[in-house]
Subunit: 435 residues, 2 copies
């Protein structure tokens, strides 16, 4: 494709939606990205750039001068423009900002002053605000007279004299309400206000919980400063929810476009931590070497008990982390949830212990060995159930993201308790009685 | 709270948003749900019921008669009504449907005829459709004259004589365009059409990718039959993305309101499968019992190699599963992604192998033992990197959800290869040379 002529390429790409063109950049090899950007020329418009994956965008923007980036940024809404600019390196960022028109620059600099991943960076500053004492008809006239048709908006905001939001009006109400009614009589007074400093994850939860299409953003004094629309939040909802699996595994960002060295750095830390905990757990086995020496079969059976516990713990932990992230698990039902997990663990433990005990008992022709491994498996699955819910809860109390660090503590607990439970019990019963 | 008087309770609950009232039901113990429902009376309205968690809703609806449920359903949009009814048991479902007004009943039965989790069940049948040759002013008149102000809509759909969608118009364009322009000159012709049979996960991906607020749903003949709005999709985006962590762990639904026995059934299957694979992997250890007998230290070191591989495999797998779910990993970049993961695994493997080899070498004062465990760890991390990406890809080719089954295959591979690599190499080098 790229080796052919640019005109043919442009003819192929031009009917595509910007999001599809952006996907195309993600699908091709890294070194083909700059040439494709050059070949597309005009077709590589602001919308395509806004849709690019963060890492892919870096590759593409490298091919553009600060002036060209500024051109792109000018065509975007504040929130998309900020998303493009915030990932640039400091000196490029300054160069692009200098190349912008003063009012665009002021808007973007204001947004960049808000903390990363806050509502202030997500919001759009252009919005329609009216007062309560206007009539519906007058509002429609004002929109028609003053708003650029290219601006997308879904709700208008009603504010008091101080600029504080007092209600919202969906455009469908504007269209269906009698024109002589006052805005104050049509608008909805209950609304979800988003403080400008709110974390984007929390913003996403609010949108999801209250099924919002757009929401007013207010500053510390309660003044309306911007609007966030659901299309800016959808990718956050998706990303934040999908992050759990990545965080639980210690895979960092988990973006397949992330440079190899970055992925290495993110992952090796967790592997090293895991190496540390694995050595600690395994030292438990070392304590029982005299026992294993007498019955070397124990060496083959020990990892089974640990593995079952690890798996049970991971299940409970995934449930707990999810429930904490979606705020289903709160102080009011902590006790009930722990008790619930204990009961699930009890049922799981009894089933698995029976299967394992029976299998090992028959295979090794030893009732005692079957009994010991069954008891150890039941014990470890109970430990796993408790650790799987207590560790994420404890990390949440310590204001740590439970998705990030739970895994390592839960696995260490189930490994250690699996080894200790099985080998300890075997030593207690006595190797001679197990054969 | 519940032991007090109902009036005080109602006064407390009445200012809350329906979504918050629904959360309240989730937070209280199971046996307090029916009494709370009784006490709230009128406050337990249709919106609250639509917001309830599926499992909590079952508890609450049990307290209502089919007639009362029908009353609730009548007040809901088709999609929410279907969500409430589809979870009822067959005979209750029939009773509620009988109690409905004929036209509501027909709509809901039509929706229930579409497969579960399809676009047909998510869509709302009330929508505003106009033809190209109407003027913007005439459309506004028609909306004002014919649409119930309580109906929420964000876009209107333009159809041809056969009822097939030809374009969409945002309400903001209706308000900002000159009233004498024709709809055909203002509308956007490119639009994302959702086939009525499309799976809801795919619907959610479309909404997210194209940042849609609403989208037309078409039947097999291309006729407009309904509309899906983003607020109906947001919870699916969230649920589908969050499911990965739960599926990877085999935790089933992972809802903390799920009855204990259901959770047990979902989880025990995976624990039993894990038990099976753990026994298979451990049988590798049994093969090397003579070697372990001579150097029992090996028994304590073996699980470390397996654990490191398991962790590395889980990382790669989480990344691959996520990339497949979000369609970032496709046929066009499969090779590149595999190669990328091999490089990350190589870097991780070299680092961890060096740390582990050095540690073991010093601790046991044996260069050879350090060398053997380092080589085995490097080998297993490389295996883990390959398995972590190849297993999810293979499962996708086999049209199986990679999130569900990957974990068990990857762990089995890394356990087996960890045991085999370390013990095999140790046997090869010879125990005498390791001490």
């Amino acid at each position: 494709l790229d080796s052919g002529d640019d005109d043919a390429l442009r003819a192929l790409v031009s009917p595509l939606h910007p999001a599809d063109v952006a996907d195309l950049f993600g699908a091709i090899p890294v070194d083909a990205r700059a040439p494709l950007a050059d070949a597309l020329g005009e077709l590589l418009n602001a919308e395509v750039i806004a849709e690019l994956d963060d890492y892919v965008r870096e590759d593409v923007l490298e091919a553009l001068s600060p002036g060209e980036v500024a051109e792109v940024v000018t065509q975007l809404d504040t929130d998309d423009a900020v998303a493009v600019i915030e990932d640039l390196e400091a000196d490029e960022q300054r160069a692009v900002l200098r190349a912008l028109a003063p009012e665009d620059r002021a808007d973007i600099e204001a947004a960049l002053n808000y903390p990363e991943e806050s509502a202030g960076r997500l919001m759009q500053r252009d919005l329609v605000a009216v007062t309560e004492n206007m009539s519906v008809g007058a509002v429609i006239e004002r929109i028609r007279a003053s708003i650029d048709p290219a601006t997308d908006f879904w709700e208008i905001f009603v504010v008091d004299i101080a600029g504080r939001p007092v209600g919202t009006m969906r455009l469908s109400w504007l269209l269906t309400a009698p024109p002589d009614l006052m805005v104050g009589d049509v608008m909805k007074r209950e609304q979800t206000l988003i403080p400008v400093a709110m974390d984007q994850e929390e913003v996403a939860l609010q949108f999801q919980k209250y099924a919002l299409i757009s929401a007013a953003v207010v500053d510390a004094w309660g003044k309306l400063v911007g609007v966030i629309t659901v299309d800016d939040v959808v990718h956050i909802i998706q990303a934040e929810a999908g992050e759990d699996a990545l965080k639980l595994s210690g895979a960092g960002d988990g973006d397949i476009n992330e440079p190899v060295v970055e992925s290495y750095k993110a992952r090796v830390r967790w592997l090293a931590a895991n190496l540390g905990t694995a050595m600690i757990s395994s030292s438990v086995i070392a304590l029982f070497e005299p026992t294993i020496e007498k019955l070397v079969t124990l060496a083959a059976l020990t990892p089974i008990v640990a593995s079952i516990g690890g798996n049970a713990g991971t299940q409970t932990m995934a449930v707990a982390v999810r429930a904490i992230a979606t705020k289903q698990l709160t102080d009011s039902n902590t006790r009930r949830t722990i008790w619930r997990e204990v009961r699930v663990a009890m049922l799981n433990g009894l089933t698995i212990a029976a299967l394992l005990g029976l299998g090992v008992g028959i295979l090794f022709n030893s009732v005692n060995l079957g009994g010991v491994i069954a008891a150890a498996a039941l014990f470890n699955i109970m430990v796993a159930g408790l650790a799987g819910v207590l560790v994420p809860l404890a990390l949440t109390r310590l204001r740590t993201d439970p998705a990030v660090a739970s895994s390592i503590f839960v696995t260490m607990t189930t490994d250690t308790m699996g080894f200790l439970g099985f080998l300890g019990l075997a030593a207690l019963v006595g190797v001679a009685n197990l054969q």
